[in-house]
């Protein structure tokens, strides 16, 4: 890959390292922080950002390397930035719903077996 | 990597079989899912492990096993993945129906939900 000019190479390397670092930090946070609402921050912010950096790096790299397809990174990034918040938000909702129902995850089934009858729309 | 992969496949097989031997429909579904992973990996491995050589014959390169992974097992496994997906779906439907009919998710029906 000596096709790349040094400065570009440096930027790419830097972006990669930073991105990896962010991803790592995010995951670390997920692993270490105290309760769910705190943990949520790690992946949703750090990791996403990290992936963004990595994508940028890849974009630059392929731009610098002729004869390879490029541009799709943008697409990926776009997708990611649309979807990541959605899933994050949904998980928050879910977590809240569970807290309020004061139901430890594994055992909804149990408690439900003697819970309110199902009303079903349609 | 060969040894590790073989062991992993073996583990999948063992776990899948054990789960498939459980008495509840859903456990059976889980087991068969694991089993299909294992079988797909095994068939795929029959083409030997060739990292970094996707079976795409690009301009300028001559297609040969030396420079490309074996495409045949891949083709077989691709359809196999889809088919096993269909099988999972079918089993789930049957599980739902059988429970609706027997008020139990025991594979032999009856015996209540146990849960």
């Amino acid at each position: 890959m000596n096709a790349l000019p040094l400065w570009l190479d440096a930027i790419i390397a830097a972006l990669l390292v930073v991105g990896a670092a962010f991803a790592l930090v995010g995951a670390y946070g997920l692993a270490k922080l105290g309760d769910f609402m705190k943990r949520l921050h790690g992946p949703t912010k750090a990791t996403t950002l990290g992936v963004g950096c990595v994508l940028l790096a890849s974009l630059l790299w392929f731009l610098g390397t002729p004869g390879t397809p490029h541009g799709r990174e943008i697409l990926i990034a776009a997708f990611l930035f649309v979807t990541a918040p959605v899933s994050g938000h949904l998980l928050v909702v879910a977590a809240m719903r569970m807290d309020q129902a004061a139901r430890p995850a594994p055992t909804e089934g149990r408690s439900s077996t003697r819970s309110v009858p199902a009303r079903d729309e349609t | 990597m060969e040894l590790a992969l073989s062991i992993a496949i073996g583990l999948l097989i063992a776990a899948g079989t054990w789960l498939a031997l459980r008495a509840r429909t859903f456990d059976l579904v889980l087991g068969l899912t694991l089993l299909s992973y294992a079988v797909n990996l095994a068939i795929f491995a029959m083409g030997r492990l060739a990292p970094g050589k996707p079976p795409l014959v690009r301009e300028g390169t001559a297609g040969a096993l030396a420079t490309h992974a074996d495409p045949l097992p891949q083709a077989l496994v691709l359809t196999a993945i889809v088919i096993s997906f269909a099988m999972t779906a079918l089993l789930l439907a049957i599980a739902v129906r059988s429970r609706a009919a027997n008020r139990s998710d025991h594979v032999d029906g009856g015996g209540g939900d146990g849960a």
């Binding site: 692993a31 959605v86 998980l91 430890p104 | -």
Partner: protein, 89 residues
């Protein structure tokens, strides 16, 4: 230079995924596990991109693309299941 850092990048991502796995196994809440799974997917996406650079090969971009596009469906579905008890209303 890029070549030099790539192994560390891959390593870091791998470590990140192992950490997520840890959370997935520890729980405690179901939401934690789902979140961890989601993170695993995202990290895999990053890993694929990096591997793409390492192998100077764009073939795996489609995989990354699909994770970015559809990977979160699983998360959404699980979240929905926990939240409402039914995935598709």
């Amino acid at each position: 230079m890029t070549a030099a850092v790539l192994p560390f990048v891959v390593g870091a991502l791998a470590l990140a995924m192992l950490l997520s796995l840890l959370r997935l196994l520890r729980g405690p809440g179901i939401a934690d596990r789902v979140l961890a799974l989601d993170t695993l997917y995202v990290c895999t996406l990053a890993l694929l991109v990096v591997l793409g650079i390492q192998w100077r090969d764009g073939v795996y971009f489609e995989a990354a693309l699909l994770i970015g596009l559809l990977g979160f469906i699983g998360t959404v579905a699980l979240g929905r299941y926990v939240e409402r008890g039914k995935v598709i209303g």
